[in-house]
């Protein structure tokens, strides 16, 4: 067999995106989901979407945009599109230091306050939950704190994401070692069922979580989410620009009950965006509180 000919190797496998097409696609994505794709990432976008264009038998990005705007299957295609333009890196017990701060200074207090007020119901919203590791982690934490007494509680963890693939994964609740790499072994033993196909989240945790699609850039959709004691939105706003962040933070504010808490990703901050929240600064992490 003849050896590989280097000259035959090319990097370009899909049609190039023109400057105009990129600008239009960027605008489209930004207006729709609030994610801003800078010029620097043009080729990355080509790499993500190019194969799809070939698969659909389209000639260029203008045709693809047309299809997303007006095509008969535009809703189906949009779902696929969302999966392609988002990244969903996550894991159980991600940022344990921050979760410790959350458990000690937020979760336990909130539970006590609810109990003292004679209203043993709790709503947590995990906004941008990816494949479910984050909301299930919260469910496990609640089981760990409340133990048997959890049956006296009405707990709901609403978990939403833009990507239908991710919500489907969360629904399946089946995970591999990678997702569990920072989860203590005894927790794995108690809250996961070892199956042949992977580690399955225990039904007692799964039933606390109600999953669904959401576009966080859609104000009306966000308004429909029930009022929350706590909102987790970690490693999501990193993809938004300041204007979108600001809008979202203010929608979160409206969603929170008085005295409610907002938890962002380790490197995310609202310092420059909003003064309405009271930051609670602890070694290990910051959480933001709405005034009572």
């Amino acid at each position: 067999m003849e050896p590989l000919k280097p000259a035959s190797l090319t990097l370009r496998k899909t049609p190039p995106i023109s400057t105009r097409e990129f600008a239009e696609l960027r605008r489209f994505i930004y207006d729709l989901v609030g994610i801003d794709i800078p010029e620097r990432r043009k080729y990355l976008l080509e790499n993500r979407l190019g194969p799809r264009i070939l698969q659909l038998g389209l000639r260029n990005y203008s045709e693809y945009l047309m299809m997303l705007h007006h095509g008969p299957d535009k809703n189906t295609e949009l779902k696929y599109f969302f999966t392609k333009i988002t990244t969903n890196e996550t894991s159980f017990f991600r940022d344990t230091k921050q979760l410790d701060v959350f458990e000690t200074h937020v979760l336990k207090n909130v539970l006590q306050e609810c109990e003292a007020a004679g209203n043993k119901s709790l709503h947590i919203w995990s906004a941008g939950c990816s494949s479910g590791e984050e909301p299930y982690t919260l469910g496990i934490m609640l089981h760990e704190i409340l133990r048997m007494s959890i049956i006296g509680w009405k707990i709901q963890i609403t978990a939403n994401d833009l990507s239908p693939d991710m919500i489907a994964k969360a629904q399946a609740g089946l995970y591999g070692e990678y997702a569990l790499r920072t989860t203590p072994k005894d927790v794995v033993d108690r809250y996961f069922i070892k199956e042949t196909q992977g580690y399955k989240i225990h039904p007692k945790v799964q039933k606390l979580v109600s999953l669904g699609l959401i576009n966080l850039n859609d104000k009306l959709a966000v308004k429909r989410v029930p009022k929350s004691h706590i909102i987790f939105c970690r490693n999501v706003i990193i993809y938004f620009d300041d204007a979108v962040k600001q809008k979202l933070i203010s929608n979160f504010y409206d969603n929170l009950l008085p005295g409610g808490y907002l938890v962002l990703g380790h490197s995310e901050t609202i310092h420059k965006l909003s003064r309405v929240f009271q930051p609670l600064i602890k070694p290990g992490g910051i959480v933001y509180r709405k005034s009572t």
Binding site: M1, R12, T87, G176, R181, E195, I238
Partner: protein, 405 residues
Amino acid sequence: MNRVCTEHLTPGMILAKKVIGPDKGVVLEPGAAMTQEHIEALRTLGVSAVFVRFPAHMEPQREIERQVQEHVRNFFIFVDPDHEAFVELYRIAVQRSLKAFRDGWIIPCEEVLHAKNVEHLSDLFFKDAGEPGDIVRHEVGLASFPDIYFKIREVLDNPKSSAQDVARVVNTDVGFSAKLLKLVNSPFFGFSTTIDSVARAVSLVGVKEISTLALGISTINYFQNIPPELMDMRTFWRHSLRCAVFAKLLAAKKNLPSDRFFTAGLLHDVGRLVIFKNMPYASVEALLYARSDMVPLVEAETAVLGYNHTDVSKLLLEAWKFPAVLIDIIAHHHAPEIAHAREEAGIIQFADIMANVAEISAGGLFALPGMAQEDWKLLGLMPRELTLLINLHDEHFEEITSVLL
């Protein structure tokens, strides 16, 4: 039997060893021709690689070539696929990886590249309190920079200094002067005669050049205590040395003072060490972000931290009073268009890219950063010259490493 990463599996491949699930049950029996569903199931399970046999219609050699190309392409995902330099570098990288494969290199799988437990790391600063200025001030406050460095600086600052002055200072540190002599005597530095004293080195190479080399060498010794989970120091300095080697080669081609470029290459990422030291958890997030979003680390730093290592390098080297020309090209090696010396900064930019290419089959992790057409044109290189550059690098890299690391 072939070990194939899950992400490179294609339907039709025949499983050669059974795969066991968490409950010890059999996920897939050997002998089964895999379907798309099987492959998805292996991904969910987090299996990083399996052993397979190729079916009759798959030519094993072509199959390996396909996998290697897929692997290498991932490194080029961020760059202009029509850029002549990157197309050539892609070809070079595929050839090198195929050769490495024949020599026993194992294609690293995604799953392995990802996994690391770093949850115990804590940052010294919160996001808003950890601006480049803050962490550099903290770093410089700790400074116990090698004494020799300051003595050399004094000599450099004094316009009246002579070759003897430099030699005298360098000679006060025996280990250090030995390194310097070994370096200038290495075939890479290409002096025809043996240089047996620092004084001779200074007169042959020049006061300025020897002094900047000395600054570079003393910096390597300075950084310790970087959390090894993030990046071990050897890997970091090996990348820096590769960049130094390429920078010197590129500069020599253009008749620029090549030893200065060697030092600039050596220190081009120095700001990253300060970020690792002061913001280890944020660094982890940047590393994760770079892997998951398939962007260069510099881009991930900007997304996660709001600044990148060049911002930190600039302030650090200013605080250490490095020569301004050196700071200019180091601080702008990801944005030559705003450097005073655009072409020179472009040399470091391209040397860094070449270093990354050389690492693709030697532990590389991140997507290559891009380079503007204008900056590439300024280098005045032909794509076909790149193979020679990489060969020269291969010839000298290990020897330079053994002197300096």
